[in-house]
């Protein structure tokens, strides 16, 4: 630390003077220390985030297809126009992305809040219940998708056989054009509600007891205390949970791909923006178009996150 506290103008007084080069370096490092310490992180961000993003942006302005190394021409905003006027695949995919995220998020937050409230107060066997609830969270999404795909198989799946036992006719689940998206939402809720529970539980345990007790004294019932005391106090935590889970839900890919494959099924019934962009890249090799979709998708994510962060700031005040 002595280097940092030595005044720049004063020469070091030690008897063994360091060689000039080393001294130069240390004073240079000293002057630029805030950049030096941040450099590894900045390089990381540059290589892994800024560069790919810039490159995708560049690709989205070209007609690149077949191979990214093949010659491609600059086409301006042509790809964006093509994508934005595509009512067959792009807009339905936007709709599915938003409805998948919205519905899954809503179910997860409501369910998550319910479960967190149940786990709030200590009870016997609490540890075991917590472990059980966390189980889905540790499974790989692809494995989860494949497991549910077997369970929901219309002919040999477990769910339909179970329904048959109680006399309910077989349902199409994943294979139905109208039921597939709902079924994948169910899987997402099954897997990710525990994460919301974790976040909300952390929020609940850090709440102070006094407001709740005061309300109890004043004769407020449990429902009133939840809606007028706990929930408002929990709002910042709820928004954090929505923010974290929302980003993840928006870019869900693995369970959709594992259950319905390329194109999100034969009728594109679960094709979200992510699945669509993947198909454009890996199946059709249309890198220009795919990049345009991804840039638009990126803007949707940034936009919705910005809205949520604004909301959180408002609530925190």
């Amino acid at each position: 630390m002595s280097v940092l506290t030595t005044p720049r103008s004063a020469p070091p007084r030690s008897a063994n003077r360091a060689p000039a080069a080393r001294e130069n370096f240390s004073s240079w490092a000293n002057r630029h220390r805030k950049w030096l310490f941040a450099a590894p992180a900045m390089i990381f961000v540059g290589v892994l985030i800024v560069f790919p993003l810039a490159w995708t942006l560049y690709l989205s302005l070209t007609d690149s297809q077949g191979s990214v190394r093949a010659a491609s021409e600059f086409v301006g905003l042509q790809n964006y126009l093509t994508v934005l006027s595509d009512a067959e695949r792009f807009w339905p995919a936007v709709g599915r992305t938003l409805s998948f995220t919205g519905v899954a998020l809503m179910c997860e937050v409501v369910l998550g809040m319910g479960i967190a409230l149940l786990l709030w107060r200590p009870f016997r066997g609490e540890k075991w219940v917590r472990v059980a609830i966390l189980m889905p969270l540790v499974a790989t999404p692809v494995a989860v998708g494949m497991m549910w795909r077997l369970i929901f198989d219309p002919n040999i799946g477990f769910v339909n056989q179970l329904l048959a036992l109680v006399g309910i006719p077989a349902q199409p689940w994943l294979s139905g054009q109208d039921t597939a998206l709902g079924t994948t939402i169910f899987m997402d809720v099954w897997q990710w509600t525990p994460m919301v529970v974790l976040i909300l539980l952390a929020g609940l345990t850090s709440l102070s007891e006094e407001p709740d007790e005061a309300a109890r004294m004043d004769g407020a019932n449990a429902v009133q205390r939840f809606f007028f005391i706990t929930l408002p106090l929990m709002m910042p935590t709820v928004i954090v949970a929505i923010l974290l889970r929302g980003i993840d839900a928006l870019k869900t890919f693995d369970i959709l791909y594992a259950t319905k494959g390329k194109g999100g099924g034969s009728f594109h019934e679960v094709e979200t923006l992510n699945v669509y962009a993947y198909g454009l890249s890996f199946d059709y090799n249309q890198y220009g178009l795919s990049s345009a979709v991804l840039i638009l998708f990126f803007m949707i994510i940034i936009g919705s996150m910005w809205l949520l962060t604004m909301r959180k700031k408002a609530v925190s005040k």
Binding site: G66, N155, L174, S175, G261, S266, S281, Y284, S291, F298
Partner: protein, 431 residues
């Protein structure tokens, strides 16, 4: 080289997967570039299992070391998309699908020219290869791959169900429909017919029906032909069979694993599928109906019985590899007459005429299957999907009417829509 390839990877991965999960794999060590190692990427397949077991033999005789990467079909394709796109030299030998990726790879210059190599060794004998498969692994008059696995569509059926219903093995499409109908009517738990239903997955199996009804994906002048009368009839027939006599609650996403599962669980009487998958149906460990499965040539339509006869997989050398001679040594060994015979005995139909002529080549096959294969090889058509560069997109377009008819839509209208879309697609490829 290394640093450049990292940047290129980052670039390609960025283009391909911003917002997606990161592309896995890709940890080729730089020592592996030593000339003594051949890096081989293979798909999960019965053929691969056989080769894998024999690799020590190759290593011993040549002194080379083999570094093997094995992946599922889709992952393999994605891996090529990333690595070959980035010009990676980390793959020497690649197993690829000539009809799916062949044209695109050749066009992009990913595949090394093997023309001189194949003609040099008379004992290895390139002339021994069947004509269709050779055509599929050539591009612009150059040989760019060596076929390893061939396939034809055959009819899988349940001998016991046919016997119980007093039916003969169907020889025509009409007989097939009548038999499926009567079996489905007799037992509500058993479907009369099952086959692939996924929009893209079903295209290859539907193709044989299309040809047998006298149609094809394109006509002689290269124009879309999926709206022709023959095609409309074929769509209506294939979709109708599944809709009317297929499994209840049929899914429209079935590829072969799902369709095969229904058949091997004993829930269907007839199933049309590639012959190279027959072991799944006759292996008691995988199939409940192993002892009652019969095989026959694809029933004849109005234009006769015209199944596809194609090379489903081939081996190629990565153009960017700096180890091409050793890569070729591996291919030469893996596709030798002895290895092809061994693979064929293990249940993988090969592309070599001499192996088919050798009684040992068909000794392990069920007799009826060997007969069906022989008949199909004669009348077979050399492609099972549109012959274009962007096969993935083309399959989705021409597969549309299949799923539409399965879900009860009018085949004729669906075929007309697909015809327009396919023509537009073909025009866009010409540009």
């Amino acid at each position: 080289m290394k640093r450049r390839s990292i940047v290129k990877y980052a670039a390609v991965a960025a283009a391909l997967s911003l917002g997606l999960t990161a592309c896995g794999g890709g940890s080729g060590s730089s020592d592996a570039k030593a000339a003594g190692t051949v890096r081989v990427t293979l798909a999960n397949h019965v053929w691969t299992e056989g080769i894998k077991a024999a690799i020590p033999e190759f290593e011993k005789s040549t002194g080379l070391k083999v570094e093997l990467t094995q992946l599922g079909e889709d992952q393999l394709s994605d891996q090529y998309n990333v690595k070959l796109n980035a010009g990676s030299d980390e793959i020497d030998v690649m197993m690829y699908r000539p009809l799916q990726e062949g044209k695109a790879f050749a066009k992009n210059g990913y595949l090394a020219d093997l023309t001189n190599k194949v003609s040099q060794d008379a004992t290895w004998d390139w002339k021994d290869y069947q004509e269709g498969p050779v055509k599929a692994t050539s591009a612009d008059g150059k040989v760019v791959g060596v076929p390893i696995i061939t396939e034809r569509e055959v009819l899988y059926y349940r001998k016991d169900l046919l016997k119980a219903a007093g039916l003969e093995v169907p020889k025509t499409m009409e007989e097939l429909e009548a038999a499926a109908k009567s079996i489905a009517a007799a037992s509500p738990d058993t479907a009369g017919f099952v086959a692939r239903t996924g929009k893209s997955a079903a295209v290859t199996q539907f193709s044989s029906f299309l040809y047998s009804f006298g149609g094809d994906f394109t006509d002689a002048s290269g124009k879309s032909a999926v709206g022709s009368d023959a095609a409309k009839k074929a769509y209506a027939y294939y979709g109708g069979l599944i809709k009317n006599y297929g499994p209840k609650n049929v899914s429209t996403d079935m590829s072969w694993p799902e369709a095969m599962a229904i058949f091997t669980q004993g829930k269907a009487a007839f199933y049309t599928e590639a012959d190279s998958l027959y072991k799944n149906a006759t292996d008691p460990a995988k199939s409940k109906v192993a002892d009652t499965v019969g095989f026959a040539a694809l029933p004849a339509g109005p234009a006769g019985s015209k199944p596809y006869n194609i090379p489903s997989w081939g081996l190629a050398v990565n153009q960017a590899s700096s180890n091409q001679d050793n890569a070729w040594k591996f291919i030469q060994w893996a596709t030798s007459k002895e290895r092809t015979l061994a693979a064929q005995e293990a249940g993988v139909p090969g592309p070599r005429a001499s192996v088919w002529a050798d009684p040992a080549g068909t000794s392990t096959y069920p007799k009826d299957l060997a007969e069906a294969i022989a008949a199909s090889a004669k009348a077979g058509v050399g492609h099972d999907r549109p012959e274009v560069v962007t096969v993935g997109k083309a399959r989705e377009i021409v597969g549309g009417p299949i799923v539409s008819t399965i879900t009860g839509a009018d085949a004729s209208a669906a075929a007309d829509t697909a015809n327009d879309a396919f023509q537009k697609f073909l025009d866009s490829e010409k540009k």
